[in-house]
Subunit: 334 residues, 2 copies
Amino acid sequence: MKIAIDAMGGDRGTEVTVKGSVDAVNELGVNVVLVGKEEIIKKELSKYKFDKSKVEILNANEIINTDEKPVAAIRRKKDSSMVKALKLVKDKEADAIVSAGSTGALLSGGLFVVGRIKGIDRPALSPVYPTEKGVSLLIDAGANVDCKPKNLQQFAIMGSIYAEKVLDINNPKVGLINIGDEESKGNELTKESFKLLKETKVNFYGNLEVREIPKGECDVLVCDGFVGNTILKLTEGLASSIFSALKNEFMKNIKTKFGALLLKSGLKNFKKRMDYSEYGGALLLGVKGGVIKAHGSSDEKAFKNAIRQAKIFSENNVVEIIQNEIIKMEGDNG
Amino acid sequence: MKIAIDAMGGDRGTEVTVKGSVDAVNELGVNVVLVGKEEIIKKELSKYKFDKSKVEILNANEIINTDEKPVAAIRRKKDSSMVKALKLVKDKEADAIVSAGSTGALLSGGLFVVGRIKGIDRPALSPVYPTEKGVSLLIDAGANVDCKPKNLQQFAIMGSIYAEKVLDINNPKVGLINIGDEESKGNELTKESFKLLKETKVNFYGNLEVREIPKGECDVLVCDGFVGNTILKLTEGLASSIFSALKNEFMKNIKTKFGALLLKSGLKNFKKRMDYSEYGGALLLGVKGGVIKAHGSSDEKAFKNAIRQAKIFSENNVVEIIQNEIIKMEGDNG
């Protein structure tokens, strides 16, 4: 099992990507190829102990920034850490790539370098979303900001497969994220998608009202990438805002400080459940290889967990399964 | 000051609408016209003490349900509590209407019965959103699920006026809700809207990343109604989910129960700040009268606060001010 690492991607750079990779090598037994500026990577590696035979370095002199036009960046920067890492996946020299860099660029790279699975129109970003019951799979979380109903139908199929084969959820419930639960509610996209999903061979729950998402009623949450990204980012923003508000209340005086002390472990459990970094990265479902987007602001723990996902994804041959299921379903549909 | 009440609207019916109205009469000194099934309203009213001269009843035999096609319902059900209450506003027999009924129907009624302000293409639902700094105004929160850039531009103008004149915020910062802060980020709608807002005479902050919303950086949050409704409903869902999770942690054992007891008032303050019902309803900005949508699941407190908003809105002549500002701005722009 070999994972290609875009060592230069992410808000916090090689400090996080190299440490996260070393931890993954030591704890998960994977092999990694660190792609990026060799001298910087070597300098970071020198801080840690690990099995040298499990870590390679592939030099790349360019870096793709988050404000670059994705398609142009992928086409132009052949010597970038992201493109070179993607090439390793395309050439089957690595099973998967993990990058905390530009989401748009990684999507374009997934499309133009690794390539789409036959029958999939639009690959989608699919992170897990923490709920009261455990986790749901959110698809699409930001890869496709403007979608057609057909895209959402394929998201439902891919998400359903991923939830069943990797998250090990039996006959996963697929909900269409909407602003109301009646079939008549929603915008043009959700109304048309509802009709399509009724005809699709997934366990379709119907419209899932946004307000119900945190309860974990559905295993797969289907929406366009703009709405999915909004759900993900608002959840992060609210969680951190709520924690700081609670902290202020708890630090008010001796009494509250003592109260908070008694609740410490409970609050810790709770915070852990809400912390996206516990759940690693988002998979780009629909391309011919493991393409995992780690959160841009990942710490080494989040980055390591993204590498763990890459490992599980590859071990379970999800790409092959999606390909077969899509071909079968498309065949059934006409 | 006379407020027309759609007594039959809302998930919890006359029990909430009548009690909320009676509380408003007693605490805010407004006059109300309760529109709906007379005998049911009378039966509810008989439970409470209030100044009889401040409460009228207007009988209406029909009710508009949330699953009805809004436009058809408004056109067909002339004898419904919502349509009759809207007519009172159109005919200037009431200053504003408060309804907890179908959002879609109330929007259609605002358009077809009360009528749009000259120059406004799409009236918008605009509730206040609690943040770390206080509140922001969210516009549109669900009235227009499919929007054009021109609509978002007008939302920015109306929201800016409302925030300045009613919420008393000086030179309010207007943020375009987006999934990234760079100008190049977003979907077709936000990219085009960004260009328009740069040319618009509002204090334009630029793109506001969804994750930053809870910090309260901007006073006015501009987005299409699907995204706005998603933000509002996810916030409600997460808040209630987080509170129940905290409660579970706090009820675990004697130690945690004692800790929670010491933190009781702090947790109460915090919950109150997150509680939408503290902030009443959402205004339908852009129509020729006060049209206030109370939350469908409002309790009597939320409904009373919606009536308070109707009062403030009317006292401050917001309709007139928006009309003048729009005419002026449209004049400047062309």
